[in-house]
């Protein structure tokens, strides 16, 4: 047993002249200090850093695409959806100086497609993650705190969602409705927010609910709303943030699968690139590797990267995993 160890990530309080500095400024200052301390911890862990570097790489690609389109890439040739390079006779053509990753069977530049899709993948991930976390945290906190029939309804509903085959449901939805990137993000978010993630967040909320400081807040006169907002949700956020990362991974993956089947109403995405390769019959021609590999490797890398960042955050959220 290690006794009396001051935890290494001590967020040092700040000394202030009481009443002279506005409280919000003090809070902002403390928030900044705690962010700095947590970032420091995050950067000590190579797993998270590797993930972050990959994400950053794709993020730069997303930013670079519109710039390249305006400067060096003539839209007629490089437009990811309507572009066509007349100077090349046979498409798909392999990598060359003008088309670093070659062209697809319709004569469009693969690199441009890849970069163009990146931003929508990010948007998809962000929407799914935010929706998931919003619902999972709210439902988790409320059903853990109140219990009873409210809890039973939400949890049985969660069981139902967990039991439903994820991809199959999405396939059904996309055949019935016009599903684009935003709609897909919301659907994936809702599935997580009412399903698996909620159950995890709720179990965490249950451990918080029985802590003595909840009783202390009640003795102080705090109502239900105060206790949920002030004591339960803030203590759930680190875990919620962790599950945001995992949701992004699952959103990107689901998008790829659905696009591969051609079920989404979107103009370009990584999944769609593979889909194009498939229906033009090049899926298994490995000599035309540039058709299949850029998109599939990107999907793998970005999914993996968010997972790695999640693992890095996990080690901050759960100090037990941390090496001393």
């Amino acid at each position: 047993m290690v006794e009396n160890v001051t935890s290494p990530d001590v967020i040092h309080g700040i000394e202030v002249k009481i009443g002279q500095v506005p409280l919000w400024r003090v809070r902002l200052q403390m928030l900044w200090i705690s962010i700095k301390a947590n970032l420091k911890l995050f950067f000590e862990n190579p797993i998270g850093v590797i993930g972050l570097v990959i994400i950053l790489f794709f993020f730069l690609m997303a930013i670079a695409h519109p710039i390249l389109m305006r400067t060096v890439w003539p839209p007629a040739i490089y437009d990811p959806i309507r572009g066509f390079d007349l100077s090349i006779l046979v498409h798909p053509s392999g990598p060359s100086l003008s088309h670093i990753l070659g062209t697809d069977p319709f004569g469009r530049d693969v690199l441009s497609q890849l970069m163009y899709s990146t931003s929508s993948e990010f948007a998809l991930g962000a929407i799914a993650a935010l929706v998931t976390v919003f619902f999972a945290t709210t439902i988790g906190a409320v059903s853990a705190y109140y219990g009873g029939w409210l809890d039973t309804i939400f949890m049985r509903f969660a069981d139902l969602i967990i039991m439903t085959p994820f991809i199959t449901l999405l396939i059904v939805l996309s055949t019935l409705f016009d599903v684009g990137m935003v709609e897909l993000g919301i659907v994936i978010g809702l599935l997580g927010g009412f399903g698996g993630t909620t159950v995890i967040i709720k179990s965490q909320a249950l451990t918080i609910k029985v802590r003595t400081y909840i009783e202390a807040a009640r003795v102080a006169g705090g109502g239900h709303f105060h206790i949920i907002m002030r004591h339960i949700i803030p203590n759930l956020l680190p875990l919620a943030f962790l599950y945001m990362m995992f949701t992004v991974t699952s959103a990107i993956f689901s998008e790829a699968v659905l696009s591969f089947f051609g079920l989404l109403n979107i103009r370009m995405s990584w999944g769609l690139m593979i889909n194009t390769t498939q229906y033009t019959g090049y899926l298994l021609s490995f000599d035309k590797w540039w058709l299949i590999f850029p998109a599939s490797v990107s999907i793998t890398l970005l999914c993996g990267a968010f997972y790695l960042v999640g693992r890095g955050i996990d080690e901050i959220v759960n100090p037990r995993l941390r090496k001393r």
């Binding site: 009481i18 003595t212 009640r218 003795v219 102080a220 109502g223 002030r230 803030p234």
Partner: protein, 347 residues
């Protein structure tokens, strides 16, 4: 204050029953009588110790008093300002007012504070939820109180997180949080049992001094008779949901009447190697009061128990001669002054 009897808190025939869980689809007919038929009066300004082993219902009683849980039956009346209120049936504004008058200090200084709130937010929480003062006033009040509980200078503690403080410092913060609304009554549930000896004494002194300064009445829940001796004017000994003996502290320690009190006193280790304690001779161990039968609750373990105790209801808490020392035992006079005589427990 013109109170008819001078009592701040009066507990009458208080009961708290918990159902014994029998499974998901069965409703249970078995109940644990955590607190049963409890009577206790607390005078304004005094400090009463509620002493007993774990599972005797002392913490349940404390939570009932601050209305963290609702009683199954019985009354708790408390004087708030000029009126007397029934704690169990407070609603709305009255309950809010009650929260301003009654506070609690918890046992575990590591569990009783939200790790994500600063010391300021922790102490100011009662002010915030009850809408007392503006932000500047709250800061000044918290700072003043921090210095009062010995965390000076306040500016170097006020914006820290609980994990940056030691156990003793946190318990001082807990004392400050309880005092910030200037309550009349504080329930302190084992406030020093998690602290180290050298730090504990300081917190004990602090609580005594501040209770006197603020004129606070305290109910001090503890398993440690030695601590109760230093903190309390009167001691009430609890056993299986009942008070078995109550009296002035020194009187209880010197002339215990109930066989359980006698056993409890002789079981406490004494920090003096030359002192020879009497052998504890009560049998068995504390059980759970599930659907207790109408006989003395202590009968099973009692060295004095006889036919009379077995066939009669749990003895009432009566006074012997002086009205201040009450005991719930049919035979205490027969054994008065004697130590527990009887077969030595084999356990």
């Amino acid at each position: 204050m013109t109170s008819e009897n001078g009592y701040l808190v009066e507990i009458k025939d208080l009961n708290k029953l918990y159902p014994v869980s029998a499974g998901i689809f069965k409703t249970s007919n078995d109940f644990i009588h955590a607190v049963s038929g409890l009577n206790l009066q607390i005078r304004k300004g005094e400090s009463v110790g509620l002493v007993g082993e774990s599972g005797c219902g002392k913490t349940t009683t404390g939570k009932l008093l601050v209305r963290l849980i609702d009683p199954t039956s019985g009354n708790i009346t408390m004087r708030i300002g000029d009126s007397t209120v029934d704690v169990a049936h407070l609603r709305g504004k009255q309950l809010k007012d009650f929260r301003r008058r009654v506070q609690m200090i918890f046992q575990d200084p590591y569990e009783s504070m939200n790790p994500r709130l600063t010391i300021f937010d922790t102490i100011a929480e009662p002010l915030e939820v009850q809408g007392i003062g503006n932000i500047t006033e709250r800061q000044e009040r918290v700072a003043g109180l921090l210095e009062l509980v010995g965390l000076a200078p306040a500016s170097s503690f006020i914006f820290r997180y609980p994990h940056e403080l030691s156990g003793g410092q946190r318990q001082r913060v807990a004392v400050a949080r309880a005092l910030i609304v200037q309550p009349d009554f504080i329930v302190a549930d084992e406030p020093t049992s998690m602290l180290d000896v050298s730090v504990r004494t300081g917190v004990m002194h602090l609580m005594q001094a501040l209770a006197k300064q603020f004129g606070v009445t305290t109910l001090y829940i503890t398993h440690d008779l030695a601590v109760a001796r230093y903190m309390c004017d009167r001691i009430a000994v609890m056993y299986l949901g009942k008070i078995v003996e109550i009296g002035e502290t020194e009187e209880i320690l010197k002339n215990p009447r109930h066989p359980y009190t006698k056993a409890l006193l002789s079981a406490v280790p004494v920090p003096d190697p030359t002192y020879k304690r009497q052998v504890v001779n009560i049998k068995g161990r504390i059980s759970k009061p599930i659907n207790p039968k109408p006989l003395c609750r202590f009968y099973e373990r009692c060295p004095w128990g006889d036919e009379y105790c077995l066939t009669h209801d749990h003895p009432p808490l009566e006074d012997g001669k002086g009205a201040t020392h009450l005991v719930a035992c049919y035979h205490w006079e027969k054994y008065a002054g004697k130590t527990n005589q009887g077969p030595i427990a084999t356990n």
